[in-house]
């Protein structure tokens, strides 16, 4: 059989963001693939050097629209460490609340996109309808559905009263019932199982070799989660499970994300019910003394790393960002090898790509 090369992207119904592939196929099977990213490369690391630390909070939030809050969390945490600030507990709890609400919205978004690619439009519609509950809560808290501007250097700029806490808790209960339904579908629906089991397999050894992070790593049995292993924000005070699976395929990744969403709901409840009193910010000076910092957070897709070098001025000398999607992109040629072309959207969906994050 002759080999044919098929270009896919940057604009393609299977791709939610621009990236391109060259697939070498023999019949219906993929033999090799080459990836081309950079369509969304805006040159952020250079842009950061042209802005003050304060201005960069706004820019950092726009590296990625889906995980905007974790970016500002990792960034503000880094600058706060350079300034030697101790952030008040109430601020850390509220910061963490948005982190977990964001994780839920990101996983539901992803679940809908995966379902749509498999042809399961009903789940796409239900997941995105229920995701609106989370977006509403985030909008009530911050004024924004997608970009929230909750973090400031020194704490947070939002607050809530007991009545609001009560209202949010009720809606989180409702959302949990919905997510339990999705979980049921994932566990028992035969079409979804047939389309995702055994597809896009990665072994634990491949995960370690490629330094893969997040739900993809955990779905292959690699038990890593920064919230537990190196707690930041309020995580040291919270009680939660880290979800892992052994199968290492798209089905396992789906299970991990669905169960993680439920765990996030539990975390949100703890945060709301145990919210400490106190101030929301500490004063942060504009100029940052010379130093270096490495800040790590567990984004919805895994380990997010910020390195910042300060030189005593009000602008960073260097901001380096490594996003989790880079660690899963590198595994795509391995995952696609031997796969049928019809399963390409499923494999791509399984890793939950965020190209805006990867390209910066």
């Amino acid at each position: 059989m002759t080999r044919v090369t098929i270009p896919i992207g940057p604009q393609h119904p299977a791709l939610k963001e621009p990236l391109s592939f060259l697939l070498t196929v023999e019949g219906e099977q993929i033999m090799e693939s080459a990836l081309r990213i950079g369509y969304v490369h805006r040159g952020l690391e250079r842009i950061f050097q042209n802005r003050s630390y304060l201005q960069n909070v706004h820019v950092v939030e726009r590296i990625c629209g889906i995980c905007s809050h974790i970016h500002t969390t990792a960034y503000c945490q880094a600058v706060e460490a350079l300034l030697g600030l101790e952030i008040p507990p109430r601020a850390l709890y509220l910061r963490t609340l948005l982190c977990e609400l964001e994780r839920i919205h990101s996983h539901l978004l992803w679940l809908g996109v995966l379902a749509e690619h498999i042809g399961f439009t009903t789940i796409f519609m239900y997941a995105w309808r229920d995701r609106e509950i989370v977006l509403d809560i985030m909008e009530e808290l911050s004024g924004g559905r997608v970009a929230h501007a909750v973090n400031v250097i020194g704490g947070v700029r939002i607050d809530l009263d007991q009545e609001h806490v009560h209202s949010i808790l009720q809606r989180l209960d409702e959302l949990e019932r919905q997510v339990e339904t999705f979980l049921g579908v994932v566990q028992h629906e035969r079409t979804l199982q047939a389309r995702t089991r055994g597809v896009g397999h990665l072994s634990a050894e491949q995960v370690r070799r490629y330094c893969v992070v997040g739900p993809v790593a955990r779905a292959s049995g690699v038990d890593v989660d920064l919230r537990r292993d190196a707690p930041y924000a309020a995580y040291a005070s919270l009680d939660f499970q880290v979800i892992t699976a052994e199968e290492g395929d798209v089905w396992a990744r789906t299970m991990v994300r669905a169960l993680e969403s439920i765990e996030s709901l539990h975390i949100c409840r703890q945060l709301l019910q145990q919210l400490p009193e106190g101030p929301l910010t500490v004063r942060a000076s504009r100029r940052v003394p010379p130093g270096e910092v490495v800040s790590r957070c567990e984004a919805p897709r895994g380990e997010l790393v910020y390195y910042i070098r300060s030189d005593g001025s009000d602008r960073p000398a260097r901001v380096k960002v490594r996003t989790p999607t880079l660690t899963t992109l590198i595994t795509l040629p391995d995952q696609l090898r031997g796969v049928n072309t019809a399963d390409v959207p499923t494999v791509l969906s399984g890793v939950d790509l965020c190209i805006a994050c990867a390209d910066r």
Partner: protein, 140 residues
């Protein structure tokens, strides 16, 4: 991560180097080595200590040199710091030891014009095909 043991083993492996271990936020230790020693140091971390997770490689133009930071992590951070001369900076690739380093090296390469000797796929990662604007993170 038993950081003291790691520092001890690294010092034994590089008796002529001072290492200059520095505690850094957040829960990090930075260690300095010459470029020619980085591969061996990484090999010790991976093979002797099972420290396989390389979070990323940061490259930066400090003005006087091109500095590379290899950020390892295992419950806490260990960063290997090395300096390359501004003229034709090059260093051995880590890809055969840590395949996950491939993208990080490609990015440092295109942003700072560092050559990673032996890299199996040194194409640009993020910059466009027709890029003619030099190395974006070099300060002229």
């Amino acid at each position: 991560m038993n950081i003291d043991l790691i520092l001890h083993v690294l010092q034994d492996a590089f008796p002529a180097e001072t290492l200059e271990p520095q505690a850094m936020p957040i829960n990090e230790t930075f260690v300095a080595l010459p470029p020619a020693s980085i591969y061996l140091a990484a090999q010790i971390l991976v093979e002797r200590f099972g420290l396989r997770h390389l979070s990323t490689i940061t490259g930066q133009d400090t003005g006087s040199e091109i500095e590379l930071l290899y950020h390892f992590w295992d419950g806490r951070g260990l960063t290997l710091r090395t300096s390359l001369p501004r003229e034709e900076p090059h260093i051995a690739t880590l890809v055969n030891l840590i395949p996950g380093a491939a993208f990080y090296e490609r990015e440092v390469s295109e942003m700072l014009h560092v050559t990673f000797d032996g890299h199996p796929d040194p194409r640009t990662l993020l910059l466009p095909d027709d890029w003619d604007g030099g190395a974006p993170l070099i300060n002229e």
